[in-house]
Symmetry: C2
Subunit: 362 residues, 2 copies
């Protein structure tokens, strides 16, 4: 429970107060009537002056501002929100802020929100559908102005938002519903990555990907498969969970087979990290014994040894673009049709995908 409300503690008329009152809730908040009283005007005028909306006599306005300042008046956003029937808060629902990709997205969202006068609630779902549902419920109950969501799966249920009239922008992962959507060219990225591997001379690339109901990584898998098929090569695919050591485990299993792959495509940066660790433990030298390319240009990618080749996504910009779309929707300025924004991915070649000469014909 929250603090016991004070029938005892002070009223603004200045009666003595039990010690606890200050410890508990602090001084009573000054409200709009107090300012009105001090400025010798009505509450309506105070409201208008402080929201510098309607035309208010400059003299009165100044008097109001002075009084507000003097009293340390701080408008109660909760009351305002109730009256206005709307908040200035967004919910950003992602799977894990620890994933550098989402960290960057979050920064993009937060920066844009801030400039537009919104605050953002951070919600981590940990790939847990129940948690995602709970957060959507919270968002609805808090009457947030909008939601930016990276859905757990293709058919996450966002109908709560729809029925609450809360605008939604989906980011990164596709949702089985027509809605504003900002993503990166995952399929094309995976195609670039795989072709790059083959161009380097690697002959048995494998794709380590996430559970099959994760939209984005599935597209990456499909991009990979598209290329290997076209080259008449076998598709070597492993779906691994989001656990921290999935990568290490995948390596163990892959390289115990008779014909292990000679190169790897990792569909996200945390996975790439895991694969590197696994490879190192097996004493396989990356960029010599085995090729590796990942997704997402994490800060550490250039510094590992060998430096990690990646398909980079414009994560920060994806955040700002999602936010921009959301602002439009909130203002009712968006086009009737939901928009889809596919941002391009870039191949960044570094050491990890290189293949030494003279080792052809494995």
């Amino acid at each position: 429970m929250t603090v016991g409300r004070g029938s005892e503690p002070t009223d603004r008329r200045g009666y003595a107060v039990p010690i606890d009152a200050t410890a508990g809730k602090g001084a009573p908040m000054v409200k709009i009537v107090d300012v009105a009283e001090a400025a010798q005007v009505s509450v309506a005028t105070v409201s208008r002056a402080l929201n510098n909306s309607a035309r208010v006599d400059p003299v009165l306005a100044e008097r109001v501002r002075a009084a507000a300042e003097r009293l340390g008046y701080r408008p109660n956003a909760v009351a305002r929100n109730l009256r206005r029937q709307g908040t200035q808060v967004w919910a950003l629902i992602i799977t894990d802020i620890n994933n550098p990709f989402y960290t960057a997205v979050a920064r993009g969202v937060e920066d844009f929100a801030q400039e537009s006068g919104f605050s953002v609630l951070l919600c981590n779902t940990d790939e847990d559908q129940a948690k995602e549902d709970r957060y959507l419920e919270v968002a609805a109950q808090e009457r947030v102005a909008g939601v930016i969501l990276a859905p757990r799966s293709d058919n996450s249920d966002t109908s709560i938002l729809e029925s609450s009239g809360i605008p939604l922008v989906v980011v990164d992962r596709h949702l089985n519903r027509k809605v504003d959507f900002v993503t990166a060219a995952s399929f094309e990225g995976a195609v670039m990555a795989t072709e790059h591997l083959l161009r380097q001379g690697w002959q048995r690339p494998a794709c380590i990907t996430r559970p099959a109901d994760t939209a984005t990584t599935e597209q990456r898998r499909m991009g990979y498969e598209d290329v290997v098929r076209r080259h008449g090569l076998p598709a070597i695919v492993r779906h691994v969970p989001f656990h921290a050591d999935s990568g290490v485990e995948a390596i163990s299993r892959l390289f115990e087979s008779d014909v292990p792959p000679d190169s790897l495509l990792a569909v996200d940066s945390m996975l790439a990290l895991g694969l590197m660790t696994g490879l190192q433990r097996r004493n396989l030298k990356i960029g010599r014994d085995v090729g590796l390319i990942g997704f997402d240009d994490a800060t550490w990618a250039p510094v590992v040894e060998p430096a990690l080749s990646v398909i980079a996504q414009p994560a920060y910009e994806m955040g700002t673009e999602a936010a921009r779309l959301l602002v439009k929707r909130i203002r009712g300025q968006g086009p009737a049709e939901p928009q889809t924004l596919v941002m391009s991915t870039t191949l960044i070649v570094r050491g990890s995908s290189r293949r030494p000469r003279g080792r052809r014909g494995g």
Copy 2:
């Protein structure tokens, strides 16, 4: 791209609705009176039943729940907050969620908040005092239930919170005011790091740190200086800003001097990354030509080459502990005196700080 199931928009009563209605605010929300009416009880009973607080006739309670379910009733948290004079939201004010240390802290805070029934507003200040002030103002106006703050500087002004009766827990960086505080043993960590460097045989360790008004990093600098002084060595200290390439620049300047350092202590992980980059560009081999140790055990630290030695801070736990303290304060269960929690740091030795034998007496 996107799959659509474009059914005609309808309102809850099933009537076709003009396009704008859905675009605008959606169907009108069902409120407590609607549920009361449907369940044939008073609003008070609905409220009681749904908050399963007071004793309500099980039969009525069930009828209420059924009605609420059927109508898709979603309590309006804004109204509730106004009435209850309190929210279920915290503000987490940090300098940059991109810093892996703060990412982990944020996860800790968010997890604990979630379990305790709170949501958290994410606020990045970018080491900008004005931004920090603005966020404190927002927190006050939103009447958040509590704030967790990593202050920009020692004398950040948090009086707004005090005068609003909003509990505050400071995390990581010291604040010039008596208040609940969760931090790590930075000084001791720096001592461990520096002594380790010396024990390895390095003879001229330098400390690359942040601006002098950053409390935590100053303690690290002092820990470093304490050790070098005791060993009769010169203190080589560089204060660098929070920019992305501070590390690279620092290396340039340091290694142009006549007697450059032979080893480096970096006070945070982003800085360590920068230093590694700078060192690589200068063709200095880490763990051979120069020793390096950082702060914070980022996910990538074991994977870089050579693997990065670090002083690890229990970032996630610092987040959960800060949250735990905050919950206590909110519930009024905290001790009268503000608490300080200093969590211990750990030396993790990996390759970067090693010094090859036979190179003594540089």
